[in-house]
């Protein structure tokens, strides 16, 4: 395993596996978000349930913290490997071309690195915003565990919603290349039919995540979620 990490392919495999975990989280998170359309009561009780999963075997928030630690580790490894690989790539071409032409690479593929940076910043903002209520609210507006209210109030500010929508498009692009890429890196798509399947899977995942998540701020702004 250690020998594997020392190779460029090993680092990519780490990115693929952690990317897989994070994609799973993103999809689950998106499905959870959709519960907001079931109304205030259902949405708030979902938030309570998340903290009590596994009870009485597990204590308050125990399951949530295990999940958070796994995600945190995945993020750390994903970014760590990305930074190392990026530095390798920059070092591999010290003299740049006067002229280059992208023939095959998609916009999504070419923006993975900066897209990743944007997503990291977005996640920080997102946690400060909805988890801590530290940004985006007037003093006293944010009330812990009134998640439904907090979302509605938070997204009523149009530029906050706009920022979330842009971030979701960035996330979708990252997934469009990332989901396909992780199966390529793990070498499970060596024949034509599989390659088509994973390409489609990546497209669908990215579209579903974008549309599912955007529906929340759009719903708030359109007055569907009040």
């Amino acid at each position: 395993m250690i020998a594997l990490w020392s190779t460029s392919i090993g680092k990519k495999a780490v990115m693929a596996v952690t990317g897989f975990i994070l994609t799973g989280f993103v999809v689950a998170h998106m499905l959870g978000n959709l519960k907001i359309f079931q109304g205030e009561e259902k949405f708030n009780s979902y938030a309570v349930w998340l903290r009590e999963v596994g009870s009485p075997a597990l204590g308050h928030q125990q399951f949530l913290w295990v999940l958070r630690l796994i995600l945190l580790a995945a993020v750390a490894l994903h970014i760590g490997a990305a930074v190392q690989l990026t530095r390798m790539s920059y070092a591999a071409r010290p003299v740049r071309y006067r002229r280059t032409e992208a023939i095959h690479a998609t916009y999504a593929a070419r923006t993975m690195r900066w897209g990743g940076v944007i997503l990291t910043l977005f996640v920080m903002y997102h946690i400060l915003h909805f988890t801590f209520g530290a940004v985006g609210y007037a003093p006293g507006q944010y009330r812990p565990m009134s998640v439904y209210r907090n979302v509605v109030v938070g997204f009523s500010v149009w530029y906050v919603s706009a920022f979330y929508i842009v971030a979701m498009i960035a996330l979708g692009l990252h997934l469009y290349h990332g989901v396909w890429s992780m199966f390529q890196t793990l070498g499970v798509n060596t024949v034509g039919a599989d390659r088509f399947f994973f390409r489609t899977l990546a497209t669908v995942t990215s579209l579903v995540v974008i549309l599912g998540n955007i529906s929340v701020p759009v719903g708030v702004l359109a007055g569907l979620v009040r």
């Binding site: 395993m1 020998a3 594997l4 190779t7 460029s8 392919i9 090993g10 680092k11 990519k12 495999a13 690989l85 390798m88 790539s89 920059y90 070092a91 591999a92 071409r93 010290p94 003299v95 740049r96 071309y97 006067r98 002229r99 280059t100 032409e101 992208a102 023939i103 095959h104 690479a105 998609t106 593929a109 070419r110 993975m112 290349h177 396909w180 890429s181 199966f183 390529q184 890196t185 793990l186 070498g187 499970v188 798509n189 060596t190 024949v191 034509g192 390659r195």
Partner: protein
């Protein structure tokens, strides 16, 4: 037809290079790109100037010696073609073309458009071979190989090692080259005994040469004159991951007579 060329000129590995503009006048559309450069060079020699250095050998697209960037595309705009097989009819009269050498840390420029691709040789030396007892050539059908495997191995073996994949890759990665070489032996029965060591050693050699890491963009397959696809890169990844979970064999020592 007439063309305007902006060519990278660099005296030697240590000199600083720069772009110099040349005119290719009255060249035939039926000429290959290299023949056109020959004409330009004749003219330069006539004026007692240093001709443009570029690599070439077979001029029929099978040796892998030639190659440079034409307007930012390795081997020029035509798919599945080396520059020696690229005809001027691909371009329009009066076109401006920028010619640059492959650019990668692992491929230092030797002169003008010529780069040192020794890094590829060292990747091959690390495992791109099979060990077999020498002697008379074995019967062609002594070992039966499934048709699909043969076809696939042949697709990979078509690699001529020109370096366009590295040149086109935004990361200057040598994954397509290494993938082709690892796959073509890994797919055949003769390649099995050394399969795990081969992939580990060749990937290690590739990383040592300071090539970048692949981000699955696919630029390499778009410029490969032999149209080798990145499905082979998936195969390489698969082989390396599989090999990493198997133990290393103890080194073999030659039996003393």
């Amino acid at each position: 037809m007439n063309l305007t060329l902006r060519v990278w000129r660099q005296k030697n590995a240590h000199a600083r290079g720069r772009f110099v503009t040349y005119e290719a006048r009255n060249v035939s559309p039926d000429m290959s790109f290299l023949e056109m450069l020959d004409v330009v060079n004749e003219e330069l020699i006539g004026r007692e100037q240093e001709p443009i250095a570029f690599e070439h050998d077979c001029r029929e697209g099978i040796c892998g010696a030639c190659g440079f960037m034409i307007n930012g595309i390795a081997h020029g705009p035509k798919r599945g073609t080396t520059v020696c097989q690229l005809h001027l009819r691909t371009f329009r009269d009066g076109d401006h073309l920028t010619l640059e050498p492959w650019r990668a840390k692992a491929f230092p420029v030797i002169k003008d458009l010529v780069v040192d691709r020794g890094a590829f040789d060292r990747i091959i030396q690390a495992g791109g071979f099979i060990s077999a007892p020498a002697g008379a050539a074995p019967d062609a059908n002594a070992i039966l190989v499934p048709k699909e495997d043969v076809e696939l191995a042949f697709d990979a073996a078509a690699c001529i090692g020109c370096g366009a994949c590295v040149a086109a890759c935004p990361n200057a990665s040598a994954m397509l080259f290494t993938a082709a070489k690892v796959s073509h032996l890994g797919l055949l029965p003769q390649g099995q005994p050394e399969r795990n060591d081969r992939v580990r050693n060749m990937v290690a050699a590739m990383d040592r040469e300071m090539f970048g890491g692949c981000t699955n963009m696919g630029e390499c397959q778009a410029v490969c004159p032999k149209e080798i696809t990145i499905a082979f890169i998936a195969r390489l990844n698969h082989d390396l991951l599989a090999a990493s979970f198997k133990g290393r064999k103890p080194p073999r020592t030659a039996a003393s007579p």
